[in-house]
């Protein structure tokens, strides 16, 4: 009688041991691979949106119009992009993705954003004191931007017990700094269905 209890306990303990005793497994995957773990905004969404938006902005008439009137490539700056969504979204990677796409297209020029500028200005001030005459960079010779890219990320979430519909809408606007005219408005939408397990062990 007691023997059966002992055997049962041993079997149970070993099951627990084997199910809990898994070690951490790490494998490298391609950064372009679509990986959805929690259903939240992730690197894939950030990349999709930035790639599509930028290819759109570069193929619209404002660019050719500017080039024909000014005879040079327009200078852009990324202004505030606000996260008005339901999730904490890392805007730095999103803005970084967009800047990269824009600069690498070669069709527009880019100037540093306001936070980056203050660092560079500090460095220039420092150069004034410490750098040699030949290598010193003078103040007041920064390139002014022609357009500012602004935008926001909005979401609508619908929830029914364990399932969620997530709808993301990214709106970007390109505004002319000379006259506040909006020269381009871009929009990208993503819709996801996140289903959760109803039971667990």
């Amino acid at each position: 009688m007691m023997n059966r209890y002992v055997t049962a306990i041993i079997i149970l303990t070993s099951i627990l041991f084997f199910t809990n005793g898994c070690t951490t497994k790490v494998s490298r995957i391609d950064t372009k691979e679509v990986t959805d773990l929690s259903g939240q905004w992730n690197d894939t969404d950030s990349r999709f949106v930035s790639e599509e938006m930028i290819s759109d902005v570069l193929n619209r008439p404002w660019l050719s119009q500017f080039k024909s009137s000014q005879n040079r490539a327009p200078v852009l700056i990324v202004g505030g992009i606000r996260n008005l969504s339901h999730e904490h979204i890392n805007l730095n990677t999103f803005v970084g993705d967009m800047e990269r796409e824009l600069i690498n297209s070669g069709k527009v020029e880019f100037v540093a954003s306001s936070t980056e500028r203050s660092d560079i200005r500090d460095e220039r001030k420092d150069m004034d004191l410490h750098a040699s005459e030949e290598t010193r960079k003078a103040m007041g010779r920064e390139t002014g931007a022609d357009f500012m890219l602004k935008g926001q990320i909005n979401t609508i979430f619908d929830v029914k017990s364990d399932d969620q519909i997530k709808y993301y809408q990214v709106d970007l606007t390109l505004i002319s700094l000379a006259d506040n005219k909006k020269v381009w408005v871009g929009q990208k939408k993503i819709k996801k269905l996140v289903e959760k397990k109803k039971l667990r062990f």
């Binding site: 969504s85 929830v159 017990s161 667990r200």
Partner: protein
């Protein structure tokens, strides 16, 4: 021989019940002791040592860790802990078959703790407050939006609010929207807050009433405005235009500590078979506030804070609303345990006794709760011209004496913006 063995078992069991297996509230009192003595660092250490490895208490561990870190002004770390709590709540809310079975055969503490309804909601409020203290209003807004999704999910799961538990979270959401200049969103939240306070017969905060009047007027919802004017009996308030020339101080006082649970138990001995039966249920012990009033003073003007969330009563009412279910489970468990020992006893008397003993010893009430929450939350909003101010909070005890005073210097008030200030106070003589 057998009677002697039985007697011995009873003695051993009694000793075990009295001294053995500490319940959650007993275990947690060591953490709280440090907190009451204002040693948040030591409280964190104690918490890590006692709860770091317990998997069924993981949510509770992160909830408490989050609040202790917040008390210690480590807002980023606090948010990381609270985010973990949120993640585990989402995961563990899914019904577990194995845990349900174990809880029916051992006790309710073996269930993974996922928090009471009001705890799940206040988690978002405290995360948002952390973001505000980090100067990240947009991130606080994210928490408010997530809280709204949570409200909908709870409604879907048929978890209903008790008293005015949704009042302050909704009111606070409105303030965040207003700070973001989103008037219609703010009004919707204020309406929801008003409904919650009204439904529970709690006192609707006067400042919520004037906010409703101001925003319905601003958004030209004149029917609603007339209705509110009649119901509230208020005829004058600062209109939106005048209000936009000012900034607003939002002072939130988190007073004392939430109640703790203790175990109520009943033992009985079946005189014919000698079987012991034990039934336990949890109950709350409040830790009453020793403050009669909290006042803030700015430039010789004095304002009394008003209770906006009575956490103590909400906690007690929540447990009450679940007491029938808890008692039913305890009874079912007692029957199961009794039958198991009876059946085993038929084959082997000693084994029957052993199972009876095990059943009695393991019968423990689930005394887990997020007890580092405050006893209540009090608030006062003061509209002020932009500038820098020194403000003082005074806590007045039951005998009218000032028992604590704290000065906030150089508080900046900016036009059209809200300056949130949180103050937590746990008196040294809080009972554990």
């Amino acid at each position: 021989m057998l009677t002697r063995l039985r007697k011995l078992t009873i003695v051993v069991t009694t000793c075990l019940i009295v001294s053995g297996c500490a319940s959650h509230s007993q275990k947690f009192s060591a953490v709280e002791k440090h907190l009451i003595e204002h040693h948040a660092g030591l409280a964190l250490k104690e918490l890590d040592e006692r709860y770091g490895k317990s998997s069924s208490d993981i949510v509770l561990y992160y909830l408490n860790k989050g609040l202790i870190l917040r008390i210690n002004e480590e807002y980023k770390k606090s948010n990381r802990a609270l985010e973990n709590a949120k993640k585990f709540i989402d995961e563990l809310e899914t019904l577990s078959l194995s845990e349900q079975t174990t809880s029916l055969t051992i006790n309710d503490s073996t269930l993974s703790y996922t928090g009471e309804r009001y705890e799940k909601i206040l988690l978002y409020v405290y995360k948002a407050l952390n973001y505000i203290d980090l100067g990240k209003l947009d991130d606080a807004r994210v928490e408010i939006l997530q809280m709204d999704v949570k409200f909908r999910k709870l409604l879907d799961d048929n978890q209903k609010p008790v008293l005015s538990e949704d009042g302050f979270p909704r009111y606070f959401s409105g303030l965040i929207y207003e700070a973001n200049q989103e008037w219609s969103n703010a009004l919707i939240s204020y309406r929801q807050a008003y409904e919650s306070y009204k439904r529970s017969a709690a006192k609707v905060p006067e400042q919520l009433k004037t906010s409703l009047l101001r925003l319905t007027e601003h958004l030209a919802l004149f029917d609603e405005l007339e209705n509110h004017k009649k119901t509230f009996g208020i005829s004058t308030w600062t209109n939106q235009q005048a209000f936009s020339e000012l900034g607003e101080l939002v002072f939130i006082f988190h007073n004392g500590l939430a109640p703790v649970k203790y175990e109520l138990s009943a033992h009985t001995l079946n005189p014919q078979t000698g079987h012991m039966i034990r039934i336990t249920t949890p109950a709350y012990k409040p830790r009453p506030s020793i403050i009669k009033a909290a006042k803030i003073s700015i430039n010789d003007n004095h304002y009394t804070l008003k209770i906006v969330e009575d956490v103590n009563s909400i906690a007690i009412k929540t447990l009450e609303s679940r007491s029938a279910e808890i008692a039913a489970r305890a009874l079912a468990r007692a029957v199961l345990k009794y039958n198991a020992s009876k059946q085993a006893g038929r084959k082997d008397d000693a084994l029957g006794l052993l199972i009876n003993l095990a059943g009695v010893v393991t019968e423990q009430a689930d005394t887990r709760s997020w007890s580092t929450l405050p006893y209540d939350i009090q608030m006062k909003r003061v509209a002020l011209p932009p500038g820098k101010y020194d403000l003082t909070i005074e806590l007045i005890g039951n005998h009218g004496r000032i028992i604590n005073k704290y000065i906030f210097s150089d508080v900046t008030i900016t036009k059209q913006q809200k300056t949130f200030i949180s103050y937590r106070w746990i008196p040294l003589y809080t009972t554990q």
